[in-house]
């Protein structure tokens, strides 16, 4: 399932999706953050898309690790080290156990999300990207354990990601820049949650499309 070719296709699709959502992502971080999240995501996804040829011949875990390292030195801000930790941690799990079955991929994904939680010292409910990533990861693992097909899982996760994003709307932020805003953050979606939802949506679509081909 998670072949190098898939990872690289996903990276191109993610870059395109981020760019397509410029206005939304940008305005969210402008409303309750400092307005740079879109630029950060674009800079990061662009650089990874540009590594396509360089990564094509490498094994999956190497690809994931190189993506993590590159994001670490490219994005900066809060999202940089978080996404970097995600990929570097996924790489470690994938190296030990090539992620082939949905259950294996779910385990790698869970390890990535775990790394974000550790690096950011944050939990669900703090109005961050974790409000998307944690429920998605939990459901991913559950559905995979139930033996659901990739396509069914992908369809479900799109939904979950969207719900996670929406859940940030009525939260007070206790992590990230919006934490300075107190109640003024209520009513706004979290920017990092939005870009995670967009990325998950994009990758799920890729899985669905791939399964149909």
């Amino acid at each position: 399932m998670m072949k190098t070719s898939f990872i690289l296709s996903a990276s191109l699709a993610i870059h395109a999706a981020i760019v397509a959502h410029e206005a939304e992502i940008e305005s969210l971080d402008r409303a309750i953050g400092d307005g740079d999240h879109y630029i950060n995501m674009k800079r990061g996804s662009e650089v990874i898309a540009g590594m396509y040829n360089e990564l094509l011949a490498l094994p999956e875990d190497d690809v994931l690790n190189k993506i993590g390292m590159k994001l670490l030195s490219t994005i900066g801000g809060a999202s940089g080290p978080l996404f970097a930790s995600f990929f570097m941690s996924m790489a470690k799990v994938t190296k030990q156990n090539v992620a082939d079955t949905p259950l294996e991929v779910a385990a790698a994904f869970a390890a990535g999300v775990q790394a974000i939680m550790q690096r950011g010292k944050a939990q669900v409910g703090e109005k961050t990207m974790l409000d998307v990533l944690v429920p998605v990861s939990t459901q991913f693992t559950t559905l995979a354990a139930e033996g659901k097909s990739s396509i069914a899982i992908a369809q479900a996760l799109k939904q979950t990601a969207y719900q996670g994003l929406e859940s940030t709307r009525n939260l007070i932020a206790t992590k990230g820049r919006a934490a300075g805003l107190g109640e003024r953050a209520i009513g706004h979606l979290d920017a990092g949650a939005k870009s995670c939802q967009v990325m998950i949506h994009t990758v799920c679509d890729l899985v669905i499309k791939g399964a149909h081909e």
Binding site: R30, D34, I39, L72, A78, R119, A179, G180, L181
Partner: protein
């Protein structure tokens, strides 16, 4: 957005190149990863390194030089720098007495410096600055933000490091200065992040943002614009309340820093100083050291912050000692 720029993507390198060239006797600029160091490497001292998103100039690169920083790592505008910059800077200025990172307390800065620290092959420590008292409910959050008080921390720690003090002492002084320093900011306009091309927030001619940070994030509260004394009084009260909450005695000497965010003229900053010094005196805080100007900015934001640092003999000594950097210079 009207700015003196060529391509948005090149602002940082062009500006930093100009900075390094204008101050070539003091600083050297390395590209990719970006960092700046003193032109002459210092020996036998703890290497003091700071960094953070760009857009706060002269913070931090303007404070490189004798008596202050050894290196600075500038990130993209309002975006924390990355660990590779910090590692390269540390590698370059490290002089066998360890490395002290001075980091403003923002999730991004903290995490990037943390990851750099984890990879650093030599002795190191970190001072987190968190002087912004605007976010009152601090148990709730990851802690207060580091704002203009960072300059005072960098000045004092830099001075101590120059004496050959060890890493632990430098860190301890940094923490002490940070504890005794409290700031709060007021914005009259938003700033415009060049890559975004438009103002981060909208604000009416009759409004102000109380308790803003230095990134154009909205503040704690949108309030009605009012006369300077009334605004300054609210700021001074917040600062005094903060000192009391920290159990710091306020009937003592203090340093008053009135910091412009970038678009507020000196005339207004000195008027704020006048007002703040009077109000602080009424609270028993006697201002014996002063700094007024643009020291920690938020691009082109109109607004200002007030910072008070409660002095003791050690802090006074290290504030007064000679410093020679592009943005702060005295005694040599």
């Amino acid at each position: 957005m009207k700015k003196f720029i060529n391509k948005v993507d090149n602002i940082l390198t062009e500006s930093l190149s100009g900075f390094a060239s204008a101050h070539r006797d003091l600083v050297t600029f390395q590209l990719d990863p970006n960092y700046l160091t003193r032109a002459q490497k210092a020996q036998n001292k703890v290497a003091i390194i700071s960094g953070g998103g760009s857009g706060h100039e002269p913070l931090h690169a303007g404070y490189i030089g004798y008596g202050m920083l050894d290196a600075a790592c500038p990130g993209q505008v309002f975006t924390s720098p990355t660990p590779d910059q910090m590692l390269a800077a540390a590698e370059s200025v490290h002089a066998d007495k360890g490395v002290l990172f001075i980091v403003k307390n923002y999730a991004g800065d903290v995490m990037n410096f943390e990851m750099a620290s984890e990879m650093l092959p030599f002795e190191h420590a970190t001072v987190l600055t968190s002087d912004d008292c605007a976010v009152v409910n601090s148990t709730y959050t990851t802690g207060r933000r580091g704002v203009a008080g960072t300059v005072i921390v960098e000045k004092c720690v830099g001075s101590l490091a120059e004496t050959g003090a060890d890493l632990a002492s430098c860190k301890a002084l940094g923490n002490k200065v940070n504890l005794r320093t409290s700031s709060i900011g007021v914005a009259l306009t938003s700033c415009t992040v060049p890559a975004a091309g438009r103002a981060t927030f909208d604000i009416a001619e009759t409004e102000l943002e109380m308790g803003v940070g230095i990134h154009g994030e909205p503040g704690r509260k949108r309030e009605q614009m009012r006369e300077a004394d009334a605004i300054v009084n609210d700021c001074v009260q917040a600062i005094v309340t903060d000192f009391k909450a920290k159990n710091l005695a306020t009937n003592q000497e203090a340093l008053l820093l009135v910091n412009g965010f970038g678009a507020t003229p000196l005339m207004e900053l000195y008027l704020i100083y006048h007002s703040a010094a009077k109000l602080l005196a009424a609270q028993g805080i006697c201002i014996t050291r002063s700094l007024v100007g643009n020291y920690t900015t938020a691009l082109d934001m109109a607004g200002a912050s007030i910072t008070v640092c409660l002095l003791d003999d050690e802090i006074k000594q290290h504030w007064d000692s000679p410093v020679h950097t592009p943005a702060l210079r005295w005694g040599r």
